[in-house]
């Protein structure tokens, strides 16, 4: 990518390059001011884009922080394989915080095959941050995803219990981010705050970023539940009347396998996905995330407790 392709007109930046510059600035600011930053990586497209941006921000040096994956144990195999390849190619260290460890230690209760492990991630996430003594954690959340996220700052202060207080957020002005905190407290940093789902896909196309194959149309055995399609997997206990069937689908988000739904789609390339996203009428979380459908205030409550 040279200047001529990344700019438009006289000294004008395209919106994607303006968003990229903002994210790069945020990465560098945290690297300069925090002692032990870490990047939260799920293997989903947002965290892949985030890692790509981190690599670009510090070129030709590798990103000066490790990558942390909070693993529910309910993974898509191809996503884990993809995670390991990506991290190895960039030369960054991978840390894994396992929900299973917290279940085994009795800190949380396994909800079993009928429940979701997603809410348990908060305990594992906060434990991993504490054990790693991380004082800044990059997350791939975007403000267009959800109502509570729309109100969160780029630098989001967390108290010593990892909690977010929406009524007591630091004013955030100009490019003057304040990441200062006391011992035991940390900040969450969201470099993709101002990106939309469409921006992510357009950037993936412009930068030719590789994504796990499940983001593109493929044949899969699925079941229909609450108007969503879920992968037919032994980890998901079937309810009466849920007959598995074959469909051509793709995933719009990638998270815990048991609560991440897919959509019927024939989009097999990035360009086709962009076309589909531009025409779509459902938010990606509304369409495919069982965990966000719990209640109107679902994300607000989880965020307060320390969720991503």
């Amino acid at each position: 990518m040279t200047t001529s392709a990344s700019t438009k007109g006289a000294y004008e930046l395209s919106h994607l390059r303006a968003l990229e510059a903002e994210a790069v600035h945020i990465f560098r600011e945290v690297a300069a001011e925090s002692e032990r930053p870490v990047l939260l990586f799920s293997g989903g497209k947002d965290s892949i884009v985030m890692l790509h941006l981190a690599a670009r921000a510090f070129w030709p040096a590798p990103p000066p922080f490790p990558v942390l994956h909070i693993d529910t144990g309910h993974n898509f195999d191809e996503v884990i394989a993809f995670r390991d390849e990506t991290v190895a190619a960039l030369g960054v260290r991978l840390e894994v915080g396992r929900v299973q460890d917290d279940i085994d230690a009795g800190r949380v209760v396994d909800p079993g095959p009928k429940g979701l492990r997603n809410p348990l991630q908060t305990v594992t996430l906060l434990r991993s941050i504490e054990e790693g003594r991380y004082d800044a954690a990059f997350g791939g959340a975007r403000r267009d995803e959800e109502k509570a996220r729309a109100k969160e700052r780029v630098f989001s202060f967390r108290d010593e219990f990892g909690q977010w207080d929406p009524r007591n957020q630091r004013p955030e002005l100009w490019r003057l981010y304040n990441g200062r905190h006391g011992a035991g407290e940390h900040i969450r940093v969201f470099p993709l705050s101002n990106w939309t789902e469409l921006d992510i896909w357009q950037y993936v196309e412009e930068e030719d970023i590789a994504l796990p194959a499940i983001y593109f149309a493929h044949q899969r055995t699925v079941i229909r539940r609450d108007d969503m399609l879920l992968a037919a997997d032994p980890l998901i206990a079937r309810r009466p009347g849920e007959e598995p069937f074959e469909a051509t689908v793709r995933f719009r988000t990638v998270g815990d396998l048991t609560c991440t739904g897919c959509v019927e789609s024939t989009a097999g390339t990035v360009a086709e996905v962009i076309e589909e996203v531009a025409a779509t009428r459902l938010t990606e979380r509304g369409a495919t995330r069982a965990d966000d459908r719990m209640s109107e205030a679902g994300m607000e409550d989880r965020k307060r407790e320390g969720y991503f």
Partner: protein
């Protein structure tokens, strides 16, 4: 690829700001079906007659219960012409700090008034804050025109009132639009009931607004943010100064000076993210500058063009907005000051006056600034700060004050320099 326009909305509690944003997003087909479903369900539950578009932006449970907006919310929409970021800021008296937070990077401020009520104290305060923050463009939407039967005289009278007040402010471009957010008149679609109005719709105005020349392309300023030194086998000698261009244009071959040391050198190369070569670096590009000479440069230093320097001083005159409900700003207080990438200790040497944002009266007898109060101060910093006048350069003219005990951001400051 379209360019980005950031705008901030401000209005009083009942002037229909949330409805206007909901309308803008609904009529540009940005609201998704599941959001609409959830808004319809919530509207029914509240007993509203029609789908309440305001519910789109009322996000947190605490807000829905009280029917207010408690913090800045960011919204996104795009048209083929442009990509928009909205900072939706609440308009109540106690939340000036949120408007300052939401509007500090805005290209445009959208202020709403209720056609029946005209220009209120709050509208004046919003306009004043927009001017203080150096937002180059302002749109005054006279809303609820349906409730005054689309009367042209009402619109003209609000317009005249506001013009009168705006004359005292530093805003160069003001546009006036008669709208009805509830019915969608002049938001995205032209109004059928106000045929006398011949100006653009709000969306058209936002799409066509010329913002490229708002930036300062004259004074080359590059605050060094981070030094990249891989010391790897492949790049044993690479040493680059990473940062975001604050203003001006940098090119390879430029003669530059590093401040505050005063060393001069030449730009050997400019690397974009990922190492792409850059021929012209301008704001807001994030780049890495390599110099021809081995000079000592670190975070907090500033690279400028030889012959065009910022002011280098330990004494600052600034207008500050106090943003904290804990404590007050008074002469003698000490803070951590963050300016560009430089962090220094600072002491308030003088509170010159407190400004009444409604009357613009300067109270020289004031001894402290409380929450949401604005005043002129003098500061003394422990080390030199490299600054320009805020109205010439938003990046090198702004700072925040941080409480040394709580680490909270307690004030926003805008520097006056060069005879302003």
């Amino acid at each position: 690829m379209p360019e980005l326009l950031r705008f901030a909305t401000a209005g009083s509690v009942d002037d229909g700001k949330s409805t206007l944003i909901g309308r803008l997003m609904y009529d540009t087909k940005t609201i998704f079906e599941d959001q609409l479903d959830s808004m319809e369900a919530a509207s029914r539950a509240r007993g509203d007659e029609r789908t309440n578009l305001a519910l789109l932006t009322d996000g947190l449970r605490a807000e829905r219960e009280q029917g207010i907006t408690i913090d800045v919310a960011y919204r996104y929409f795009a048209t083929p012409a442009r990509r928009f970021i909205i900072a939706d800021t609440p308009g109540h008296i106690q939340y000036t700090r949120n408007m300052v937070t939401g509007a500090s990077t805005a290209d445009l401020a959208l202020v709403l008034v209720d056609a029946r009520k005209g220009v209120l104290e709050q509208s004046r305060r919003h306009a004043f804050l927009a001017s203080l923050l150096g937002i180059p463009h302002l749109v005054l939407c006279v809303n609820k025109m349906d409730l005054v039967d689309g009367d042209r005289d009402v619109f003209e009278s609000v317009k005249a009132d506001f013009r009168d007040f705006a004359r005292k402010l530093d805003i160069h471009d003001v546009a006036f639009l008669p709208v009805s957010a509830l019915h969608g008149d002049n938001i995205v679609n032209r109004s059928a009931s106000m045929s006398w109005y011949e100006g653009p719709t709000l969306l058209h105005h936002l799409e066509e607004l010329h913002i490229a020349s708002d930036r300062n392309l004259v004074d080359a300023r590059f605050p060094v943010q981070y030094v990249i030194r891989p010391q790897s086998e492949r790049h044993p000698d690479y040493r680059g100064y990473a940062g975001t261009v604050a203003s001006g244009v940098f090119r390879p071959g430029d003669e530059v000076v590093v401040l505050p040391s005063g060393f001069t050198s030449t730009i050997a190369a400019i690397d974009g993210p990922g190492g792409s070569p850059v021929t012209d670096a301008f704001s807001p590009m994030a780049v890495t500058i390599r110099l021809a000479d081995d000079v000592d440069v670190s975070r907090g230093d500033l690279i400028a063009r030889v012959g065009n320097h910022p002011t280098v001083d330990q004494d600052l005159d600034a207008t500050v907005c106090w943003l904290s409900d804990r404590g007050e700003l008074a002469a003698g207080n000490r803070y951590t000051l963050k300016h560009t990438t430089r962090v220094v200790k600072a002491k308030v040497t003088d509170l010159v006056y407190r400004l009444d944002v409604n009357t613009l009266h300067r109270d020289q007898g004031a001894t402290a600034l409380g929450l949401n109060e604005i005043g002129r101060v003098r500061l003394r910093t422990q080390a030199p700060v490299l600054f320009d006048d805020y109205h010439r350069n938003r990046d090198t003219g702004s700072f925040i004050l941080i409480d040394e005990a709580t680490h909270a951001t307690v004030a926003a400051g805008m520097i006056s320099a060069g005879g302003r």
